[in-house]
Symmetry: C2
Protein backbone atom coordinates (compact mmCIF):
# COMPACT_ATOMS: atom_id res chain seq x y z
CA UNK A 1 0.00 0.00 0.00
CA UNK A 2 1.93 3.01 -1.25
CA UNK A 3 1.43 6.46 -2.62
CA UNK A 4 1.46 4.90 -6.04
CA UNK A 5 -1.52 2.70 -5.32
CA UNK A 6 -3.48 5.66 -4.11
CA UNK A 7 -2.45 7.78 -7.07
CA UNK A 8 -3.46 5.11 -9.53
CA UNK A 9 -6.81 4.58 -7.88
CA UNK A 10 -7.53 8.30 -7.82
CA UNK A 11 -6.27 8.77 -11.35
CA UNK A 12 -3.69 11.35 -10.39
CA UNK A 13 0.04 11.49 -9.83
CA UNK A 14 1.84 10.68 -6.63
CA UNK A 15 2.76 14.32 -6.33
CA UNK A 16 -0.86 15.28 -6.08
CA UNK A 17 -1.59 12.66 -3.50
CA UNK A 18 1.32 13.90 -1.47
CA UNK A 19 -0.01 17.42 -1.72
CA UNK A 20 -3.39 16.39 -0.47
CA UNK A 21 -1.89 14.46 2.40
CA UNK A 22 0.15 17.44 3.47
CA UNK A 23 -2.68 19.81 2.70
CA UNK A 24 -0.69 21.92 0.35
CA UNK A 25 -2.51 24.99 -0.93
CA UNK A 26 -3.12 24.49 -4.61
CA UNK A 27 -5.28 21.45 -5.12
CA UNK A 28 -8.67 21.57 -6.75
CA UNK A 29 -11.38 20.51 -4.28
CA UNK A 30 -12.66 17.93 -6.73
CA UNK A 31 -9.36 16.10 -7.08
CA UNK A 32 -8.72 16.53 -3.43
CA UNK A 33 -11.83 14.60 -2.48
CA UNK A 34 -11.12 11.97 -5.13
CA UNK A 35 -7.75 11.41 -3.53
CA UNK A 36 -9.19 11.37 -0.06
CA UNK A 37 -11.67 8.76 -1.10
CA UNK A 38 -8.98 6.57 -2.56
CA UNK A 39 -7.03 6.93 0.66
CA UNK A 40 -9.87 5.75 2.84
CA UNK A 41 -10.90 3.06 0.38
CA UNK A 42 -7.44 1.61 0.49
CA UNK A 43 -7.05 2.25 4.21
CA UNK A 44 -3.78 3.83 3.24
CA UNK A 45 -1.33 5.24 5.74
CA UNK A 46 1.86 7.02 4.66
CA UNK A 47 5.08 5.29 5.53
CA UNK A 48 6.61 7.32 8.30
CA UNK A 49 10.13 6.25 7.44
CA UNK A 50 9.90 7.28 3.83
CA UNK A 51 8.34 10.47 5.00
CA UNK A 52 11.02 11.63 7.37
CA UNK A 53 13.68 10.36 5.03
CA UNK A 54 12.41 12.45 2.17
CA UNK A 55 11.28 15.37 4.24
CA UNK A 56 14.22 15.48 6.52
CA UNK A 57 12.22 16.44 9.59
CA UNK A 58 10.79 14.32 12.31
CA UNK A 59 7.99 15.18 14.65
CA UNK A 60 9.01 12.91 17.45
CA UNK A 61 10.55 13.91 20.73
CA UNK A 62 12.58 11.55 22.86
CA UNK A 63 12.50 11.39 26.62
CA UNK A 64 15.20 9.64 28.56
CA UNK A 65 14.52 8.86 32.20
CA UNK A 66 16.16 6.77 34.85
CA UNK A 67 13.22 4.88 36.15
CA UNK A 68 9.80 5.17 34.65
CA UNK A 69 8.32 3.14 37.49
CA UNK A 70 8.83 6.15 39.67
CA UNK A 71 5.76 8.35 39.28
CA UNK A 72 7.98 11.38 39.33
CA UNK A 73 9.28 10.56 35.88
CA UNK A 74 5.93 9.41 34.71
CA UNK A 75 4.43 12.78 35.52
CA UNK A 76 7.06 14.58 33.55
CA UNK A 77 6.48 12.23 30.67
CA UNK A 78 2.82 13.03 30.69
CA UNK A 79 3.30 16.73 30.82
CA UNK A 80 5.76 16.53 27.98
CA UNK A 81 3.46 14.37 25.95
CA UNK A 82 0.50 16.65 26.45
CA UNK A 83 2.51 19.68 25.46
CA UNK A 84 3.91 17.83 22.47
CA UNK A 85 0.51 16.69 21.35
CA UNK A 86 -0.71 20.25 20.95
CA UNK A 87 2.21 20.80 18.63
CA UNK A 88 1.46 17.65 16.67
CA UNK A 89 4.47 15.91 18.05
CA UNK A 90 4.83 12.47 19.52
CA UNK A 91 7.12 11.49 22.31
CA UNK A 92 8.88 8.22 22.91
CA UNK A 93 10.27 7.33 26.30
CA UNK A 94 13.16 5.19 27.26
CA UNK A 95 13.82 4.17 30.81
CA UNK A 96 17.39 3.27 31.63
CA UNK A 97 16.73 1.56 34.93
CA UNK A 98 19.93 3.27 36.11
CA UNK A 99 21.89 0.92 33.88
CA UNK A 100 24.55 2.88 32.00
CA UNK A 101 24.54 0.43 29.09
CA UNK A 102 20.85 0.96 28.61
CA UNK A 103 21.40 4.68 28.68
CA UNK A 104 24.01 4.50 25.97
CA UNK A 105 21.96 2.24 23.77
CA UNK A 106 18.86 4.37 24.21
CA UNK A 107 20.79 7.40 23.14
CA UNK A 108 22.00 5.49 20.10
CA UNK A 109 18.49 4.56 19.15
CA UNK A 110 17.23 8.07 19.53
CA UNK A 111 20.04 9.51 17.49
CA UNK A 112 19.47 6.85 14.88
CA UNK A 113 15.87 7.89 14.64
CA UNK A 114 16.84 11.47 14.03
CA UNK A 115 14.33 12.72 16.57
CA UNK A 116 13.23 16.30 16.60
CA UNK A 117 14.69 16.69 20.03
CA UNK A 118 15.56 14.86 23.18
CA UNK A 119 14.88 15.52 26.83
CA UNK A 120 17.19 13.93 29.34
CA UNK A 121 16.43 13.30 32.99
CA UNK A 122 18.92 10.72 34.03
CA UNK A 123 21.06 11.51 37.02
CA UNK A 124 23.54 8.84 36.04
CA UNK A 125 24.60 10.46 32.79
CA UNK A 126 28.22 11.42 32.63
CA UNK A 127 29.69 14.47 30.98
CA UNK A 128 31.01 12.29 28.21
CA UNK A 129 27.68 10.96 27.06
CA UNK A 130 26.02 14.29 27.58
CA UNK A 131 28.65 15.97 25.48
CA UNK A 132 28.27 13.39 22.77
CA UNK A 133 24.57 14.04 22.72
CA UNK A 134 24.97 17.76 22.47
CA UNK A 135 27.57 17.47 19.75
CA UNK A 136 25.39 15.09 17.80
CA UNK A 137 23.48 18.16 16.77
CA UNK A 138 20.16 17.05 18.13
CA UNK A 139 18.27 19.66 20.10
CA UNK A 140 18.71 18.56 23.68
CA UNK A 141 17.50 19.69 27.04
CA UNK A 142 18.59 18.39 30.41
CA UNK A 143 17.11 18.30 33.83
CA UNK A 144 19.87 18.31 36.40
CA UNK A 145 22.58 18.00 33.83
CA UNK A 146 26.23 17.62 34.54
CA UNK A 147 28.23 20.77 33.91
CA UNK A 148 29.21 21.00 30.30
CA UNK A 149 31.49 23.22 28.34
CA UNK A 150 28.98 24.05 25.69
CA UNK A 151 26.02 24.30 27.98
CA UNK A 152 22.77 23.09 26.48
CA UNK A 153 19.52 24.37 27.91
CA UNK A 154 19.21 23.06 31.40
CA UNK A 155 16.49 22.92 33.98
CA UNK A 156 17.75 22.64 37.48
CA UNK A 157 16.19 22.20 40.86
CA UNK A 158 17.68 23.98 43.80
CA UNK A 159 18.04 20.87 45.90
CA UNK A 160 20.24 22.67 48.34
CA UNK A 161 17.50 25.04 49.37
CA UNK A 162 14.95 22.25 49.33
CA UNK A 163 17.02 20.03 51.53
CA UNK A 164 17.78 22.94 53.78
CA UNK A 165 14.11 23.58 54.32
CA UNK A 166 13.57 19.96 55.09
CA UNK A 167 16.37 19.63 57.61
CA UNK A 168 15.56 22.92 59.30
CA UNK A 169 11.98 21.85 59.64
CA UNK A 170 13.02 18.61 61.30
CA UNK A 171 15.46 20.35 63.59
CA UNK A 172 12.69 22.68 64.63
CA UNK A 173 10.72 19.61 65.61
CA UNK A 174 13.55 18.59 67.89
CA UNK A 175 15.11 15.88 65.76
CA UNK A 176 18.79 15.26 66.43
CA UNK A 177 19.35 11.81 64.98
CA UNK A 178 18.68 11.82 61.27
CA UNK A 179 18.99 9.21 58.57
CA UNK A 180 19.05 9.62 54.83
CA UNK A 181 17.69 6.93 52.57
CA UNK A 182 18.91 7.34 49.01
CA UNK A 183 19.14 5.25 45.92
CA UNK A 184 22.03 3.65 44.15
CA UNK A 185 23.22 5.62 41.21
CA UNK A 186 26.21 5.38 39.01
CA UNK A 187 28.73 7.95 40.07
CA UNK A 188 27.79 10.94 37.98
CA UNK A 189 26.90 13.14 39.71
CA UNK A 190 26.95 12.07 43.30
CA UNK A 191 23.29 12.34 44.07
CA UNK A 192 22.69 16.01 44.73
CA UNK A 193 20.03 15.52 47.34
CA UNK A 194 22.25 13.26 49.35
CA UNK A 195 25.24 15.52 49.02
CA UNK A 196 23.29 18.49 50.23
CA UNK A 197 21.82 16.52 53.07
CA UNK A 198 25.28 15.67 54.30
CA UNK A 199 26.55 19.16 53.86
CA UNK A 200 23.68 20.74 55.73
CA UNK A 201 23.53 18.20 58.50
CA UNK A 202 27.24 18.33 59.07
CA UNK A 203 27.10 22.08 59.54
CA UNK A 204 24.24 22.09 62.00
CA UNK A 205 24.79 23.23 65.56
CA UNK A 206 24.14 21.70 67.97
CA UNK A 207 25.64 18.77 66.13
CA UNK A 208 23.40 16.18 64.56
CA UNK A 209 24.00 12.50 64.30
CA UNK A 210 23.30 11.01 60.94
CA UNK A 211 23.61 7.94 58.87
CA UNK A 212 23.09 7.10 55.24
CA UNK A 213 21.71 4.02 53.63
CA UNK A 214 21.03 3.38 49.97
CA UNK A 215 19.16 0.87 47.87
CA UNK A 216 17.08 0.65 44.73
CA UNK A 217 14.76 3.41 43.63
CA UNK A 218 11.55 1.66 44.64
CA UNK A 219 9.37 1.04 47.66
CA UNK A 220 11.18 -2.24 48.13
CA UNK A 221 14.46 -0.36 48.10
CA UNK A 222 13.16 1.96 50.79
CA UNK A 223 12.13 -0.99 52.89
CA UNK A 224 15.49 -2.71 52.54
CA UNK A 225 17.42 0.43 53.34
CA UNK A 226 15.35 0.97 56.45
CA UNK A 227 15.80 -2.59 57.52
CA UNK A 228 19.57 -2.22 57.17
CA UNK A 229 19.46 1.05 59.02
CA UNK A 230 17.63 -0.36 62.00
CA UNK A 231 19.67 -3.53 61.97
CA UNK A 232 22.77 -1.42 62.37
CA UNK A 233 21.53 -0.27 65.72
CA UNK A 234 21.21 3.37 64.72
CA UNK A 235 17.92 4.82 66.00
CA UNK A 236 16.99 7.85 63.95
CA UNK A 237 14.06 9.95 65.07
CA UNK A 238 13.61 11.10 61.50
CA UNK A 239 14.36 9.63 58.11
CA UNK A 240 14.85 11.88 55.13
CA UNK A 241 14.18 10.04 51.90
CA UNK A 242 15.61 10.91 48.53
CA UNK A 243 12.11 10.65 47.10
CA UNK A 244 8.53 9.72 47.86
CA UNK A 245 8.73 6.49 45.95
CA UNK A 246 11.27 5.05 48.34
CA UNK A 247 9.62 6.71 51.33
CA UNK A 248 6.61 4.49 50.80
CA UNK A 249 8.73 1.47 51.57
CA UNK A 250 10.48 3.22 54.43
CA UNK A 251 7.18 3.84 56.17
CA UNK A 252 6.07 0.30 55.53
CA UNK A 253 9.16 -1.18 57.15
CA UNK A 254 8.94 1.14 60.12
CA UNK A 255 5.38 0.07 60.70
CA UNK A 256 6.31 -3.56 60.30
CA UNK A 257 8.92 -3.20 63.01
CA UNK A 258 6.33 -1.80 65.33
CA UNK A 259 7.51 1.77 65.05
CA UNK A 260 4.88 4.49 64.76
CA UNK A 261 5.10 7.13 62.07
CA UNK A 262 5.45 9.89 63.10
CA UNK A 263 5.08 8.86 66.74
CA UNK A 264 8.45 7.14 66.90
CA UNK A 265 10.03 8.12 63.64
CA UNK A 266 9.27 10.99 61.29
CA UNK A 267 9.65 10.44 57.56
CA UNK A 268 10.02 12.94 54.75
CA UNK A 269 9.86 12.30 51.05
CA UNK A 270 10.78 14.37 48.04
CA UNK A 271 8.94 15.16 44.77
CA UNK A 272 5.38 15.26 46.06
CA UNK A 273 4.11 12.57 43.74
CA UNK A 274 0.38 11.99 43.75
CA UNK A 275 0.71 8.84 45.80
CA UNK A 276 2.24 10.76 48.67
CA UNK A 277 -1.15 12.01 49.77
CA UNK A 278 -2.74 8.56 49.57
CA UNK A 279 -0.46 6.73 51.93
CA UNK A 280 -1.20 6.49 55.58
CA UNK A 281 0.18 8.49 57.08
CA UNK A 282 0.27 11.03 54.27
CA UNK A 283 3.82 11.98 53.42
CA UNK A 284 5.50 15.22 54.33
CA UNK A 285 7.54 16.05 51.28
CA UNK A 286 9.09 18.67 49.04
CA UNK A 287 7.18 19.58 45.96
CA UNK A 288 8.82 19.61 42.58
CA UNK A 289 6.53 20.82 39.82
CA UNK A 290 6.77 17.95 37.35
CA UNK A 291 4.19 19.38 35.02
CA UNK A 292 6.14 22.57 34.69
CA UNK A 293 9.30 20.66 33.97
CA UNK A 294 7.66 18.67 31.21
CA UNK A 295 6.06 21.68 29.63
CA UNK A 296 9.22 23.70 29.79
CA UNK A 297 11.19 20.93 28.16
CA UNK A 298 8.78 20.93 25.28
CA UNK A 299 9.07 24.68 24.94
CA UNK A 300 12.82 24.47 24.89
CA UNK A 301 12.87 21.67 22.33
CA UNK A 302 10.22 22.59 19.79
CA UNK A 303 10.74 25.79 17.82
CA UNK A 304 7.02 26.13 17.13
CA UNK A 305 6.21 26.02 20.83
CA UNK A 306 4.58 29.14 22.23
CA UNK A 307 7.12 29.44 25.00
CA UNK A 308 10.10 28.84 22.76
CA UNK A 309 13.02 31.22 23.05
CA UNK A 310 16.00 30.62 20.84
CA UNK A 311 18.67 31.10 23.44
CA UNK A 312 19.52 28.43 26.00
CA UNK A 313 17.49 29.37 29.02
CA UNK A 314 18.51 28.19 32.41
CA UNK A 315 15.63 27.54 34.69
CA UNK A 316 15.79 26.95 38.39
CA UNK A 317 13.08 25.37 40.43
CA UNK A 318 12.94 25.67 44.18
CA UNK A 319 11.27 22.78 46.01
CA UNK A 320 8.51 23.77 48.41
CA UNK A 321 8.03 22.00 51.70
CA UNK A 322 4.66 20.30 52.03
CA UNK A 323 3.91 19.33 55.59
CA UNK A 324 1.54 16.43 56.02
CA UNK A 325 1.20 13.61 58.51
CA UNK A 326 4.42 11.65 58.44
CA UNK A 327 6.38 14.10 60.53
CA UNK A 328 6.00 15.26 64.08
CA UNK A 329 7.97 16.34 67.12
CA UNK A 330 10.89 14.12 67.98
CA UNK A 331 10.27 11.50 70.60
CA UNK A 332 12.29 12.43 73.63
Amino acid sequence: MTLDDVARRAGVSTATVSRVLNDAPSVRPATRSRVLKAVTDLNYLPNEHARTLAGGRSRVLGLLVSNIENPFFLDIYHALEDAARTLAHEVVVASTGYVPEHLASSIQHMRARRLAGIAVIVSEIDADLAGQLVHSGMPTVFYDAPRLDRMPPNIAADYRTGMHRCVEYLRGLGHRRLAFVGHHTSLYPLNARQAHFVEIVAKARPALEYRIETSDDSPEGGRLATRALLASGFRPTAIVCVNDFMAIGVVRELLDQGLGVPRDVSVTGFDNIGLSSYTSPRLTTLDIPRARIGTTMCDLLVPEAPGHTGRPTDIVITPELIVRESTGVARS
Copy 2:
Protein backbone atom coordinates in the same frame (compact mmCIF):
# COMPACT_ATOMS: atom_id res chain seq x y z
CA MET B 1 26.80 12.11 8.11
CA THR B 2 25.90 9.26 5.79
CA LEU B 3 27.14 5.93 4.60
CA ASP B 4 28.90 7.78 1.83
CA ASP B 5 30.99 9.82 4.21
CA VAL B 6 32.08 6.72 6.02
CA ALA B 7 32.81 4.89 2.78
CA ARG B 8 34.91 7.73 1.46
CA ARG B 9 36.89 8.01 4.67
CA ALA B 10 37.55 4.29 4.78
CA GLY B 11 38.36 4.15 1.10
CA VAL B 12 35.71 1.57 0.33
CA SER B 13 32.26 1.49 -1.19
CA THR B 14 29.02 2.07 0.65
CA ALA B 15 28.14 -1.54 0.13
CA THR B 16 31.12 -2.63 2.13
CA VAL B 17 30.32 -0.25 4.94
CA SER B 18 26.81 -1.57 4.98
CA ARG B 19 28.12 -5.09 5.17
CA VAL B 20 30.30 -4.25 8.12
CA LEU B 21 27.46 -2.55 9.90
CA ASN B 22 25.23 -5.55 9.47
CA ASP B 23 28.09 -7.90 10.09
CA ALA B 24 27.68 -9.74 6.87
CA PRO B 25 29.94 -12.78 6.49
CA SER B 26 32.43 -11.98 3.77
CA VAL B 27 34.45 -8.96 4.73
CA ARG B 28 38.20 -9.05 5.09
CA PRO B 29 39.21 -8.28 8.70
CA ALA B 30 41.53 -5.54 7.53
CA THR B 31 38.88 -3.60 5.65
CA ARG B 32 36.41 -4.32 8.39
CA SER B 33 38.52 -2.56 10.98
CA ARG B 34 39.24 0.32 8.60
CA VAL B 35 35.54 0.82 8.23
CA LEU B 36 34.92 0.51 11.93
CA LYS B 37 37.54 3.12 12.57
CA ALA B 38 35.97 5.52 10.14
CA VAL B 39 32.63 4.94 11.80
CA THR B 40 33.85 5.83 15.25
CA ASP B 41 35.98 8.68 13.95
CA LEU B 42 32.94 10.22 12.36
CA ASN B 43 30.68 9.27 15.25
CA TYR B 44 28.43 7.89 12.58
CA LEU B 45 25.07 6.34 13.29
CA PRO B 46 22.96 4.76 10.53
CA ASN B 47 19.72 6.50 9.76
CA GLU B 48 17.03 4.27 11.13
CA HIS B 49 14.45 5.51 8.64
CA ALA B 50 16.57 4.83 5.62
CA ARG B 51 17.40 1.50 7.11
CA THR B 52 13.90 0.19 7.61
CA LEU B 53 12.83 1.74 4.34
CA ALA B 54 15.50 -0.06 2.41
CA GLY B 55 15.49 -3.22 4.44
CA GLY B 56 11.79 -3.48 4.85
CA ARG B 57 11.91 -4.81 8.37
CA SER B 58 11.62 -3.01 11.62
CA ARG B 59 12.80 -4.17 14.99
CA VAL B 60 10.38 -2.17 17.05
CA LEU B 61 7.37 -3.45 18.89
CA GLY B 62 4.45 -1.26 19.85
CA LEU B 63 2.52 -1.48 23.06
CA LEU B 64 -0.85 0.14 23.44
CA VAL B 65 -2.22 0.52 26.94
CA SER B 66 -5.09 2.39 28.51
CA ASN B 67 -3.33 4.04 31.35
CA ILE B 68 0.36 3.82 31.86
CA GLU B 69 0.05 5.50 35.24
CA ASN B 70 -1.47 2.31 36.49
CA PRO B 71 1.40 0.07 37.58
CA PHE B 72 -0.42 -2.88 36.14
CA PHE B 73 0.30 -1.68 32.63
CA LEU B 74 3.73 -0.52 33.54
CA ASP B 75 4.65 -3.99 34.69
CA ILE B 76 3.53 -5.51 31.44
CA TYR B 77 5.50 -2.89 29.58
CA HIS B 78 8.61 -3.81 31.47
CA ALA B 79 8.22 -7.49 30.94
CA LEU B 80 7.65 -6.93 27.26
CA GLU B 81 10.63 -4.63 27.00
CA ASP B 82 12.93 -7.06 28.76
CA ALA B 83 11.83 -9.89 26.55
CA ALA B 84 12.20 -7.72 23.48
CA ARG B 85 15.63 -6.58 24.45
CA THR B 86 16.97 -10.11 24.41
CA LEU B 87 15.76 -10.33 20.83
CA ALA B 88 17.34 -7.01 19.90
CA HIS B 89 14.00 -5.33 19.64
CA GLU B 90 12.81 -2.05 21.04
CA VAL B 91 9.36 -1.29 22.28
CA VAL B 92 7.46 1.95 22.17
CA VAL B 93 4.46 2.53 24.38
CA ALA B 94 1.44 4.65 23.87
CA SER B 95 -1.04 5.32 26.62
CA THR B 96 -4.50 6.25 25.51
CA GLY B 97 -5.77 7.56 28.80
CA TYR B 98 -9.05 5.86 27.93
CA VAL B 99 -9.58 8.48 25.25
CA PRO B 100 -10.78 6.80 22.05
CA GLU B 101 -9.31 9.53 19.87
CA HIS B 102 -5.91 8.93 21.38
CA LEU B 103 -6.31 5.26 20.76
CA ALA B 104 -7.09 5.79 17.13
CA SER B 105 -4.25 8.19 16.59
CA SER B 106 -1.80 5.95 18.38
CA ILE B 107 -2.78 3.09 16.15
CA GLN B 108 -2.25 5.33 13.14
CA HIS B 109 1.20 6.24 14.31
CA MET B 110 2.16 2.68 14.92
CA ARG B 111 0.90 1.53 11.60
CA ALA B 112 2.69 4.42 9.95
CA ARG B 113 5.90 3.31 11.53
CA ARG B 114 5.48 -0.17 10.16
CA LEU B 115 6.33 -1.72 13.51
CA ALA B 116 7.36 -5.32 13.74
CA GLY B 117 4.31 -6.02 15.83
CA ILE B 118 1.86 -4.49 18.20
CA ALA B 119 0.51 -5.55 21.56
CA VAL B 120 -2.83 -4.15 22.61
CA ILE B 121 -4.13 -3.93 26.14
CA VAL B 122 -6.88 -1.38 25.95
CA SER B 123 -10.25 -2.40 27.25
CA GLU B 124 -11.89 0.42 25.37
CA ILE B 125 -11.00 -0.84 21.92
CA ASP B 126 -13.97 -1.67 19.77
CA ALA B 127 -14.25 -4.50 17.29
CA ASP B 128 -13.97 -2.00 14.48
CA LEU B 129 -10.58 -0.67 15.42
CA ALA B 130 -9.36 -4.08 16.41
CA GLY B 131 -10.42 -5.45 13.07
CA GLN B 132 -8.74 -2.62 11.24
CA LEU B 133 -5.57 -3.37 13.11
CA VAL B 134 -5.66 -7.03 12.31
CA HIS B 135 -6.41 -6.42 8.67
CA SER B 136 -3.61 -3.89 8.41
CA GLY B 137 -1.36 -6.90 8.26
CA MET B 138 0.70 -6.02 11.29
CA PRO B 139 1.32 -8.87 13.69
CA THR B 140 -0.98 -8.13 16.57
CA VAL B 141 -1.70 -9.63 19.93
CA PHE B 142 -4.44 -8.65 22.31
CA TYR B 143 -5.01 -8.95 25.97
CA ASP B 144 -8.71 -9.15 26.66
CA ALA B 145 -9.65 -8.51 23.08
CA PRO B 146 -13.13 -8.10 21.78
CA ARG B 147 -14.37 -11.11 19.86
CA LEU B 148 -13.32 -10.95 16.27
CA ASP B 149 -14.13 -12.90 13.19
CA ARG B 150 -10.57 -13.52 12.22
CA MET B 151 -9.23 -14.10 15.69
CA PRO B 152 -5.76 -12.81 16.30
CA PRO B 153 -3.71 -14.32 19.10
CA ASN B 154 -5.35 -13.41 22.33
CA ILE B 155 -4.41 -13.58 25.96
CA ALA B 156 -7.38 -13.62 28.26
CA ALA B 157 -7.86 -13.56 31.96
CA ASP B 158 -10.64 -15.58 33.45
CA TYR B 159 -12.16 -12.68 35.32
CA ARG B 160 -15.26 -14.66 36.00
CA THR B 161 -13.45 -17.19 38.11
CA GLY B 162 -11.35 -14.50 39.71
CA MET B 163 -14.34 -12.45 40.67
CA HIS B 164 -16.10 -15.54 41.86
CA ARG B 165 -13.26 -16.35 44.21
CA CYS B 166 -13.33 -12.84 45.51
CA VAL B 167 -17.06 -12.68 46.16
CA GLU B 168 -17.17 -16.14 47.68
CA TYR B 169 -14.35 -15.22 49.99
CA LEU B 170 -16.21 -12.13 51.16
CA ARG B 171 -19.45 -14.02 51.59
CA GLY B 172 -17.61 -16.51 53.71
CA LEU B 173 -16.55 -13.63 55.88
CA GLY B 174 -20.19 -12.76 56.39
CA HIS B 175 -20.45 -9.81 54.04
CA ARG B 176 -23.93 -9.15 52.70
CA ARG B 177 -23.73 -5.56 51.52
CA LEU B 178 -21.18 -5.22 48.76
CA ALA B 179 -20.09 -2.35 46.61
CA PHE B 180 -18.11 -2.37 43.39
CA VAL B 181 -15.83 0.49 42.50
CA GLY B 182 -14.95 0.48 38.84
CA HIS B 183 -13.54 2.87 36.33
CA HIS B 184 -15.09 4.73 33.47
CA THR B 185 -14.50 3.12 30.17
CA SER B 186 -15.88 3.66 26.76
CA LEU B 187 -18.50 1.08 26.07
CA TYR B 188 -16.49 -1.70 24.47
CA PRO B 189 -16.57 -4.07 26.15
CA LEU B 190 -18.54 -3.38 29.27
CA ASN B 191 -15.86 -3.87 31.84
CA ALA B 192 -15.61 -7.60 32.35
CA ARG B 193 -14.76 -7.45 36.01
CA GLN B 194 -17.78 -5.34 36.73
CA ALA B 195 -20.08 -7.47 34.62
CA HIS B 196 -18.98 -10.61 36.40
CA PHE B 197 -19.31 -8.99 39.75
CA VAL B 198 -22.91 -8.15 39.02
CA GLU B 199 -23.65 -11.56 37.61
CA ILE B 200 -22.19 -13.38 40.57
CA VAL B 201 -23.61 -11.13 43.21
CA ALA B 202 -27.06 -11.21 41.71
CA LYS B 203 -27.07 -15.00 41.81
CA ALA B 204 -25.95 -15.34 45.38
CA ARG B 205 -28.28 -16.83 47.98
CA PRO B 206 -29.10 -15.56 50.49
CA ALA B 207 -29.44 -12.41 48.42
CA LEU B 208 -26.79 -9.74 48.56
CA GLU B 209 -27.28 -6.04 48.41
CA TYR B 210 -24.93 -4.26 46.12
CA ARG B 211 -24.17 -0.99 44.51
CA ILE B 212 -21.80 0.20 41.81
CA GLU B 213 -19.86 3.38 41.54
CA THR B 214 -17.36 4.38 38.89
CA SER B 215 -14.74 7.04 38.40
CA ASP B 216 -11.30 7.51 36.89
CA ASP B 217 -8.68 4.80 36.93
CA SER B 218 -6.56 6.35 39.66
CA PRO B 219 -6.34 6.60 43.41
CA GLU B 220 -8.22 9.86 43.18
CA GLY B 221 -10.92 8.10 41.21
CA GLY B 222 -11.19 5.49 43.93
CA ARG B 223 -11.52 8.17 46.51
CA LEU B 224 -14.24 10.01 44.62
CA ALA B 225 -16.20 6.87 43.94
CA THR B 226 -16.09 5.95 47.59
CA ARG B 227 -17.16 9.40 48.61
CA ALA B 228 -20.14 9.19 46.29
CA LEU B 229 -20.93 5.74 47.56
CA LEU B 230 -21.03 6.79 51.17
CA ALA B 231 -22.84 9.99 50.38
CA SER B 232 -25.60 7.96 48.84
CA GLY B 233 -26.31 6.43 52.21
CA PHE B 234 -25.39 2.91 51.18
CA ARG B 235 -23.27 1.25 53.83
CA PRO B 236 -21.29 -1.59 52.31
CA THR B 237 -19.37 -3.86 54.62
CA ALA B 238 -17.04 -4.67 51.75
CA ILE B 239 -15.91 -2.85 48.65
CA VAL B 240 -14.66 -4.77 45.66
CA CYS B 241 -12.42 -2.64 43.50
CA VAL B 242 -11.80 -3.13 39.83
CA ASN B 243 -8.08 -2.83 40.51
CA ASP B 244 -5.50 -2.08 43.16
CA PHE B 245 -4.73 1.34 41.79
CA MET B 246 -8.21 2.59 42.58
CA ALA B 247 -8.35 0.59 45.79
CA ILE B 248 -5.58 2.77 47.18
CA GLY B 249 -7.90 5.75 47.00
CA VAL B 250 -10.84 3.78 48.29
CA VAL B 251 -8.96 2.89 51.45
CA ARG B 252 -7.80 6.44 51.85
CA GLU B 253 -11.29 7.85 51.70
CA LEU B 254 -12.63 5.23 54.08
CA LEU B 255 -9.94 6.13 56.58
CA ASP B 256 -10.64 9.81 56.12
CA GLN B 257 -14.26 9.25 56.94
CA GLY B 258 -13.30 7.56 60.15
CA LEU B 259 -14.04 4.07 58.91
CA GLY B 260 -11.58 1.35 59.81
CA VAL B 261 -10.26 -1.03 57.18
CA PRO B 262 -11.02 -3.86 57.56
CA ARG B 263 -12.70 -3.22 60.92
CA ASP B 264 -15.67 -1.42 59.43
CA VAL B 265 -15.24 -2.03 55.74
CA SER B 266 -13.28 -4.66 53.91
CA VAL B 267 -11.61 -3.74 50.63
CA THR B 268 -10.34 -5.95 47.83
CA GLY B 269 -8.24 -4.93 44.88
CA PHE B 270 -7.35 -6.65 41.65
CA ASP B 271 -4.02 -7.16 39.80
CA ASN B 272 -1.71 -7.50 42.79
CA ILE B 273 0.53 -4.62 41.78
CA GLY B 274 3.66 -4.15 43.80
CA LEU B 275 2.21 -1.25 45.73
CA SER B 276 -0.57 -3.39 47.09
CA SER B 277 1.75 -4.82 49.70
CA TYR B 278 3.10 -1.43 50.72
CA THR B 279 -0.14 0.23 51.67
CA SER B 280 -1.48 0.07 55.16
CA PRO B 281 -3.39 -2.02 55.48
CA ARG B 282 -1.90 -4.27 52.82
CA LEU B 283 -4.41 -5.03 50.12
CA THR B 284 -6.23 -8.29 49.67
CA THR B 285 -6.31 -8.74 45.93
CA LEU B 286 -6.33 -11.08 42.96
CA ASP B 287 -3.06 -11.73 41.29
CA ILE B 288 -2.63 -11.37 37.59
CA PRO B 289 0.82 -12.35 36.38
CA ARG B 290 1.84 -9.25 34.46
CA ALA B 291 5.31 -10.51 33.73
CA ARG B 292 3.94 -13.59 32.09
CA ILE B 293 1.59 -11.52 29.99
CA GLY B 294 4.39 -9.31 28.76
CA THR B 295 6.67 -12.20 27.97
CA THR B 296 3.97 -14.13 26.21
CA MET B 297 3.08 -11.15 24.08
CA CYS B 298 6.66 -10.92 22.94
CA ASP B 299 6.71 -14.62 22.13
CA LEU B 300 3.56 -14.30 20.12
CA LEU B 301 4.79 -11.27 18.20
CA VAL B 302 8.40 -11.99 17.39
CA PRO B 303 9.10 -14.96 15.13
CA GLU B 304 12.62 -15.34 16.49
CA ALA B 305 11.35 -15.63 20.04
CA PRO B 306 12.09 -18.92 21.78
CA GLY B 307 8.47 -19.42 22.74
CA HIS B 308 7.11 -18.50 19.34
CA THR B 309 4.57 -20.81 17.80
CA GLY B 310 3.19 -19.95 14.43
CA ARG B 311 -0.44 -20.60 15.16
CA PRO B 312 -2.58 -18.17 17.11
CA THR B 313 -2.43 -19.47 20.63
CA ASP B 314 -5.13 -18.62 23.05
CA ILE B 315 -3.92 -18.28 26.55
CA VAL B 316 -6.06 -18.06 29.62
CA ILE B 317 -4.92 -16.74 32.93
CA THR B 318 -6.79 -17.45 36.12
CA PRO B 319 -6.46 -14.81 38.84
CA GLU B 320 -5.36 -16.09 42.23
CA LEU B 321 -6.78 -14.68 45.43
CA ILE B 322 -4.15 -13.14 47.67
CA VAL B 323 -5.46 -12.54 51.15
CA ARG B 324 -3.76 -9.77 53.07
CA GLU B 325 -4.87 -7.25 55.61
CA SER B 326 -7.62 -5.20 54.05
CA THR B 327 -10.33 -7.78 54.50
CA GLY B 328 -11.88 -9.30 57.57
CA VAL B 329 -15.13 -10.59 58.95
CA ALA B 330 -18.11 -8.41 58.33
CA ARG B 331 -19.05 -6.08 61.11
CA SER B 332 -22.35 -7.26 62.50
